[in-house]
């Protein structure tokens, strides 16, 4: 109580809170105003308005009755658990590969970033053409090797979803590999030299030196990647379009599907239903990053 009073008094002290400080404050507000305007106009208002549109409980009854919705939730869950963990494990492994100093590893590291540096649409459509059952290059090869027709890749929901996950991994693996590589390069080399002198093998060096210094970052990256992937529209939409028979939708594409059918209430309701999945991740990330 007393401490607070003294603190408040100190803050009101004209010598401290004089003209200079209030001028700084005014300028601060002025400098931050453009972002605040963007935030209010394009985040706060749209989100608030959409929650208001999604307020009708009837929408959720309708949503739960839509078999596509249930399937979508399951797909999203599979996508997050399988694709992200596979991708992060690969990124961790490849970041170790890229620490090796060879000229050709350096060249490969430069090329490796291409999937991330080029836009999704031409590359994902290129994959889509490769998978075309009649004249795509993959089935052409299968036919010339085995004289049998290859599978109708994108017409099988399980295959189509798996291929969307592969496309997602193809696209975002370089980014996470680079991040983990930066973390690996930040580990002091002396630690490894000392371990080698003590006769530690590759596995022990990873287990006792690399992993302990990277595990926090690895978990952060995994969660961040999950949040981004919930919003990954391209990998699914451009490859499968949600088909066959709307069986490969994820939450990111389902909302847009309802929007295109002019059912904005359903679109927002489906997003509101995703919040229990997203909010814990966001909460955790906020605690980690806003120090």
């Amino acid at each position: 109580m007393t401490a607070t009073t003294i603190e408040t008094a100190a803050r009101r002290d004209p010598r401290r809170a004089g003209f200079a400080l209030s001028e700084k404050q005014t300028w601060g507000l002025l400098f931050v105003a453009p972002y605040i305007a963007i935030f209010i106009g394009f985040v706060l208002f749209p989100v608030g308005y959409s929650f208001w549109l999604a307020r009708d409980p009837q929408l959720y009854v309708q949503l739960a009755a839509d078999p596509i919705f249930l399937r979508t939730v399951v797909n999203t869950f599979i996508f997050l658990v399988v694709a992200i963990n596979l991708k992060m494990a690969l990124a961790l492994f490849l970041s170790g590969f890229f620490t090796h100093k060879r000229w050709w590893v350096k060249v490969l590291a430069v090329l490796f970033v291409l999937p991330w540096a080029v836009p999704s649409i031409p590359t994902i459509l290129s994959v889509r053409f490769m998978l075309n059952p009649e004249w795509g290059v993959i089935n052409t090869l299968i036919f010339s090797l085995t004289a049998e027709d290859g599978p109708n890749w994108l017409n099988n929901p399980a295959l189509a979803l798996s291929l969307s996950m592969l496309v997602h991994i193809w696209k975002s693996l370089p980014f996470w590999t680079l991040i983990l590589l930066a973390a690996r390069l930040a580990i002091p080399g002396e630690l490894y030299e000392a371990a080698s002198v003590d006769g530690a093998g590759a596995w022990h060096r990873f287990r006792y030196i690399t992993w302990p210094s990277m595990s926090t970052l690895y978990v952060t990256c995994t969660l961040l990647s999950m949040i981004f992937t919930v919003g990954d529209f391209n990998s699914v939409y451009l490859l499968t379009g949600g088909g066959p028979a709307d069986l490969t939708h994820v939450l990111a594409t389902l909302g847009i599907r309802y929007l295109r059918l002019d059912q904005i209430g359903m679109a927002m309701a489906s997003i509101v239903c995703a919040l229990p999945l997203v909010l814990p991740l966001v909460f955790f990330m906020m605690k980690r990053l806003s120090k």
Binding site: G41, P46, V47, L94, F129, T140, V230
Partner: protein
């Protein structure tokens, strides 16, 4: 002993190649496949050959000369993409630099709150914000205007931009500001004469980030723009899919031309990008 070490050395090299070759193939196949389509005559791209027997530049000629009804507005759409990404980069830089200056250098009250709001926005999955964004842009009467996409992309890019710039700015010594203030510099002079020049590398990184984000964006572009003369190139490429008789070799050629600038920009600014952008992530 020496033999054992030599054998282990060979084993390591072989192991590295065993990883490196699949990684190379995995990375390049979709891109090479696109390129192969672009240089193959119609109908010859499907044969599964590694190199076309009659490579041709005819597809490029068709695309550049806008000689197909899918491509009548190719250059206009390329121009739209350019205007929108440059606009996004400029506005993002303006908004984010100013906000990071207020939060980090002026230490304004509530700066922490602004930073947290920005981070929270960064964590809204992009496809989820797209639905409200579409609805609101309609209410503002901005649909089909360049501004709708520029403002939407600025909304998406500025949170990360502010975060990166704030971290870079926090590293500048406080004494600089204090010395300038004692010499009677106003906050505006501080911003212009001290802060901006010192932040140039981070500004390049953030500007490139926003530019590429806007250039590569498909979902928002396809929701917010629909007129043939207003859409950006990725939306035009997506429209190829809606027709059954799409000239796929032209689609791949146009896609190849569309993918070149961002790849070139990325490699030109890679130095700034990797130091500027991964720094923030690694810290978390």
């Amino acid at each position: 002993m020496r033999l054992k070490r030599a054998l282990r050395g060979i084993g390591l090299e072989a192991g590295l190649l065993l990883i490196g070759i699949p990684v190379l193939l995995w990375t390049l196949i979709p891109i090479y496949h696109m390129f192969l389509f672009a240089i193959s005559p119609k109908d010859a791209a499907f044969s599964g050959q590694l190199w076309p027997s009659h490579p041709t530049l005819r597809n490029f000629e068709m695309v550049i000369g806008q000689k197909h009804h899918f491509l009548y507005h190719f250059w206009l759409q390329m121009w739209n993409s350019l205007v929108i990404s440059v606009g996004t980069a400029a506005i993002t830089l303006f908004v984010a630099t100013a906000a990071a200056f207020a939060i980090s250098r002026l230490r304004m009250k509530g700066g922490r709150l602004v930073m947290n709001l920005a981070l929270l926005t960064y964590f809204i999955p992009a496809a989820f914000l797209a639905v409200p964004m579409y609805k609101t842009m309609g209410m503002y009467g901005l649909l089909n205007s360049d501004w709708s996409l520029v403002l939407a992309m600025t909304t998406l890019s500025s949170p990360y931009a502010i975060w990166i710039l704030r971290q870079a700015s926090d590293k500048l010594p406080v004494e600089l500001d204090e010395a300038a203030m004692i010499d009677g510099a106003s906050p505006l002079q501080l911003f212009r004469l001290i802060y901006l020049p010192l932040m140039v590398p981070s500004l390049i990184a953030v500007g490139t980030y926003a530019l590429l984000l806007a250039w590569n964006e498909y979902l928002y572009a396809f929701l917010l723009l629909s007129k043939d003369t207003a859409i950006t190139l990725p939306v035009a490429l997506g429209n190829f899919l809606s027709a059954d008789d799409s000239p796929w070799e032209l689609l791949m050629t146009a896609g190849f031309l569309y993918a070149l600038p961002p790849a070139a920009i990325y490699y030109a600014f890679r130095r700034y990008m990797s130091s500027g952008l991964t720094a923030g992530a690694v810290k978390g």
